[in-house]
């Protein structure tokens, strides 16, 4: 199968980025503890009686941070995310992540949950393979992708 990867990084660079992104600290551990496990809640859920269940709120510590987004882009390749979702997250055997559409919700906390626990149809749980801050950098990267503006209608004229 053809593969698409965004970054052709030397092996040493990948290892360095992984080490930087995944190095655990006490602060990281404390944040991971605080962040997990929250309620799953996204717009396609319908709440019985119209009241949403209580759940912990998840906030992205890197929201809007372009340096963290660049780190997330490197992790997207280094952790083999692009092997399923395609280079740039444009979709491959796994769904597109740059179309502005989300099966399991597109808020930061919802994307975090998808990466941490995995999803059905083969999305692996990465929560045991990388620390919380690495996952947040991936979330930051994915939320930085700009959906194309011509998606809903395809035309061959």
């Amino acid at each position: 199968m053809t593969r698409t990867t965004t970054l052709g990084l030397p092996a040493a660079a990948v290892v360095f980025i992984l080490a930087a992104a995944c190095r655990g600290t006490h602060a990281d551990a404390a944040r991971a503890q605080r962040d997990a496990p929250p309620a799953v809640r996204y717009p396609s859920h319908i709440s019985a009686g119209g009241t949403a269940p209580r759940g912990a709120a998840l906030a992205n510590p890197y929201a809007g941070d372009s340096v963290a987004a660049a780190g997330g882009a490197a992790l997207f390749t280094a952790m083999n995310c692009d092997g399923c979702h395609g280079g740039g997250g444009t979709g491959w055997v796994g769904p597109s992540l740059d179309d502005g559409r989300w099966r399991y919700g597109g808020t930061a906390g919802e994307i975090y949950m998808s990466i941490y626990y995995g999803r059905r149809e083969g999305m692996p749980a990465f929560g045991g393979a990388m620390p919380s801050n690495g996952i947040w950098k991936l979330v930051t990267y994915l939320q930085s992708l700009q959906p194309p503006n011509d998606v809903p209608t395809e035309s061959w004229k």
Binding site: T2, C84, D99, G122
Partner: protein, 602 residues
């Protein structure tokens, strides 16, 4: 299931015998320069993926001829309810048609002896949805095998199942593969005597590729033969394993650096064949992992190879590697068709293989000696195959690797000059092979890849574009005795279907934009086409119905690699919307996903 012989089918048998006699007595149709074999009357059934153990996909039926094929019309359709790529083919056994769907791998049994072909039963296994995302290239299934009253097939999530062909009840279910380690199981099992041979996909996940032999009665795993690693794991026993070209011990380990064979791929996802005289099963192995060849210096034996094993205990008898140190993802998973061909005046027992790498190989199937190797599509990675050494003479400017950057203009692509998904047919009447081909080229940028268990292990970016000539596929007839194209039909898109050839010199294939075509086997003239509603990536079959008539069946349902390459042919997921691929921008204008079974007759 109806087992009794009806008067209609008795009459059909007589008619067929008469037709057979007429064919046998007609002089001059078979090519004079070739061997003419007496063909036994066809049983009218289709009990295994390749029609017979030689994998010829040749049927002795002959009612549909070049003269009347234009009168073919659909007589029945059925939606499988599944959208995944419909590779593989139905089986027809004792007036029942068996259909296995892509994931979730439902098995349908249709009663062909009743009007409207009502469903007798359907078997719905519990298959893990995780397999959908671990399968590299869509959740396909390549079909079932009928043996000893059982329908045997693989579930995508690493199980082989045997179902009673009459009742639809599960007889046994065996775990053969580990999805969490990247193994999935879309291939069709292959049954020889009391052995069920199965393999696993996962060349994109760094698996340690293998074939297993199961007991047909119990499902118990009798042996496991790896394709890479030390001789002991290959079941290559001293004195018994005799490759024609390579003689050193433990090549499956010594041609890799630092135990890289342990995650070196060599998956098994294509087709198998069997020579009962030699007692050898033949199959091809897939690519080495990862795609970046600089992480695996050496030949990487026995990836991209044909393996010849004894079915009873799995012993490896010979092997031959088509693409040593594969730099282009040239899996050798395609079928090995067994034929007896006259080569240089002498009848040779050969196997013929159309490799992803663009060469067609004619090989002595007793020894593994390459007799003929010629390109059947445009290729530029090798100058030729050296028949003395069996090795390709590679154009070094086309070698890939992370340090080489983006290597441009490599033909064919890693989809193959022919997709292994799309098995050829061989007619013993015309002595020609009928081949679905792709005419595409690629750039290949390798990058370092890290193996993280349960995630892809790839390391290359390889965009495609059309090859020279302004077409992306062709259907061609090939003379494997000399290595020569006889005729071809150019198609707008890569041709991705299997083929069936018949005793009336009609061949059938399907196109990616959804046409089933009937073609004159001798001239390549298109006799009939019909648009089936979705692109064809499955394999047409032909059979005799209980009414004595000849039927042709095929799946519609674009998918497989096209699920990835042309993600815009899907419309089922509002949360996954993709732009068209650059090289097939208009494919979705002509087809979209959807699984259907079609049956045609005169």
């Amino acid at each position: 299931m109806k087992w009794q012989r009806t008067t209609a089918s008795m009459a059909a048998a007589c008619v067929t015998a008469l037709i057979w006699a007429a064919i046998a007595l007609t002089p001059g149709r078979a090519a004079g320069a070739h061997v003419v074999h007496a063909q036994p009357p066809d049983d009218g059934e289709w009990t295994m993926p390749g029609k017979d153990y030689a994998s010829t996909r040749y049927s002795g039926l002959s009612q549909i001829t070049p003269d009347n094929a234009a009168h073919l019309h659909p007589v029945w359709t059925f939606s499988t309810g599944v959208l995944g790529g419909h590779e593989g083919q139905p089986l027809v056994v004792h007036n029942t048609m068996y259909v296995v769907t892509p994931y979730p791998n439902t098995l349908y049994a249709f009663d062909l002896s009743k009007p409207d072909y009502p469903l007798e039963w359907k078997y719905r296994p519990a298959v893990s949805p995780n397999a959908v995302g671990v399968a590299c290239c869509d959740a396909v299934n390549r079909g079932a095998f009928y043996a000893d009253g059982k329908i045997v097939y693989n579930l995508l999530d690493g199980h082989t199942v045997a179902v009673d062909a009459v009742s639809g009840k599960q007889l046994w279910l065996t775990t053969i593969a580990d999805v969490s380690n990247g193994e999935t199981t879309p291939m069709a099992p292959f049954v020889v005597k009391n052995r069920v041979l199965v393999g696993a996909s996962g060349g994109e996940f760094g698996i340690h590729g293998w074939v297993k032999g199961l007991d047909l009665q119990t499902g118990h795993v009798a042996w496991t033969g790896y394709n890479i690693g030390p001789d002991s794991e290959l079941l290559a026993k001293p004195g018994q394993f005799k490759p024609f070209y390579d003689h050193a011990a433990n090549l499956g380990a010594s041609t890799w650096p630092n135990n890289a064979w342990q995650t070196g791929g060599a998956p098994v996802w294509g087709w198998m064949s069997y020579d009962s005289t030699l007692d050898l099963v033949y199959y091809g192995t897939g690519n080495p992992s990862p795609y970046n060849p600089e992480q695996r210096a050496g030949d990487n034996k026995w990836t991209t190879s044909v393996m010849a094993r004894r079915p009873e205990d799995g012993s490896l008898v010979w092997a031959y590697q088509f693409t040593p140190h594969d730099s282009w993802d040239f899996d050798a998973a395609a079928e090995m068709v067994l034929a007896d061909l006259r080569i240089d005046g002498k009848v040779r027992k050969v196997l013929v293989h159309f490799d992803k790498n663009g060469f067609a190989y004619t090989i002595d199937r007793a020894t593994g000696q390459v007799l003929v190797a010629q390109p059947f599509v445009q290729e530029n990675w090798a100058k030729h195959i050296d028949l003395e050494t069996g090795r390709p003479v590679v154009d070094s400017s086309k070698l890939t690797g992370a340090s080489r950057g983006n290597v441009k203009d490599i033909c064919p692509t890693l989809e193959g000059g022919k997709s292994p998904n799309s098995p050829v047919a061989y007619s013993p009447r015309t002595h020609l092979f009928y081949v679905s081909t792709s005419n595409m080229c690629m750039d290949y940028q390798a990058v370092p890849a890290a193996r993280i268990r349960g995630t892809p292990y790839i390391g290359a970016n390889s965009p495609y574009y059309p090859g020279a000539g302004g077409y992306m596929g062709a259907f061609e007839a090939w003379d494997a005795a000399v290595g020569r194209k006889v005729w071809e039909i150019k198609e707008r898109y890569p041709v991705w279907s299997g083929v069936v050839a018949t005793a009336s010199d009609v061949v059938f294939y399907g196109t990616l934009d959804g046409y089933l075509r009937a073609v004159d086997a001798r001239t390549g003239k298109i006799l009939w086409s019909f648009k089936v509603g979705s692109g064809i990536v499955g394999n047409p079959i032909t059979y005799r119905g209980p009414d004595g008539k000849q039927y042709v069946a095929v799946y519609a349902g674009i998918g497989g690699d096209w699920f990835l390459l042309a993600g815009d042919v899907r419309s089922d997921d509002p949360a996954d919307v993709r732009a068209p691929a650059d090289f097939v921008k208009d494919l979705a204008r002509h087809t979209s996903r959807g699984g259907l079974v079609w049956i045609f007759a005169l």
